[in-house]
Amino acid sequence: MTTQAIPLWEVFIRSRNGLAHKHVGSLHATDATLALQAARDIYTRRGEGLSIWVVPSGAITASDPSEKGMMFEPAESKIYRHPTFYDVPDEVGHM
């Protein structure tokens, strides 16, 4: 396959009303310039974005799925960390 030798890139798009870039998917491209153009052509066809980031997939350090018990389960029992035990005064309005 031709794509095997072509690097993988992760694509992040900032939408019209969104503040942060969000991960939308990945693509193959030989270099950063073509990756950016491919991201434009694949992920912003319906007016989704105002800004694009592309990142080599290899540059991402990911957590190990097999360690998810150690990594994430301890947080599940700490419900007191959620800010749901406060009475918010009406004057504060929508937070």
Binding site: T2, T3, I6, L27, H28, A29, T30, T33, L34, Q37, A38, R40, D41, I42, R45
Partner: protein
Amino acid sequence: MATASIQVSETPLVLYALRRADDALILGHRLSEWCGHAPMLEEDMALANMGLDLLGQARELYSYAAKVEGKGNDEDRFAYLRDVRQYRNLLLVERPNGDFAATITRQFFYAAFADLYWRAMMTSRDTTLAAIAARSEKESAYHLRHCSEWMVRLGDGTGESHRRAQAAVDDLWAYTGEMFAVDDSERCLIDAGIGVDPAGLRPRWLDTVSEVSGEATLTLPKNDWMQQGGRDGRHSEHLGHLLSELQSMQRTFPGAAW
């Protein structure tokens, strides 16, 4: 069984709009032929996107031609019910896709021209043409950027990609002159501030093409002999085949809609 071709009253302005519309439709159709066949999925989408941009340009120009003509024709009738000799597109845009290098080179030559052309037309005294140009210019600017990047990567890539890109440049060069030709019909519109004088754009087109080709380590042919005829309906054998596919549904089932 087949539907007869329509008659078109080609006043200078109708002809002017039809020529640009035909360029966009035929080149867009050529790009659509890549759909599902491009070297990689990413480029499949890129080619289809460019094709759809061109189809959008064609639709607006056909609709305007129909309005100016005022004989009850519309965009569909112009696209589907004119014979090959009634088509007014450049010979360049009907060239077969060939390999990926040939398609990109064809698109590069055209986009480098169209970008300048639409930008100049934005100041046309014809407000409809100026509006179409304003939208089309942004699309062509991206087509030019995308194709320029590919020209450099193909030309300055591997021995094989260089050979194919150089072959495409050599093969298509003789079809670039027609973009800058002006006949009497267009001369009157240029003098009236409605049309764009393409001859004046050639030095800048050549600058762009030379710069990108240089970076791509490709050599532009010295040959100045240029093919012509598309603007007057004298086409290569390839356009008839293209139209037979493009028009087959409407010719076989007149007025079919879904």
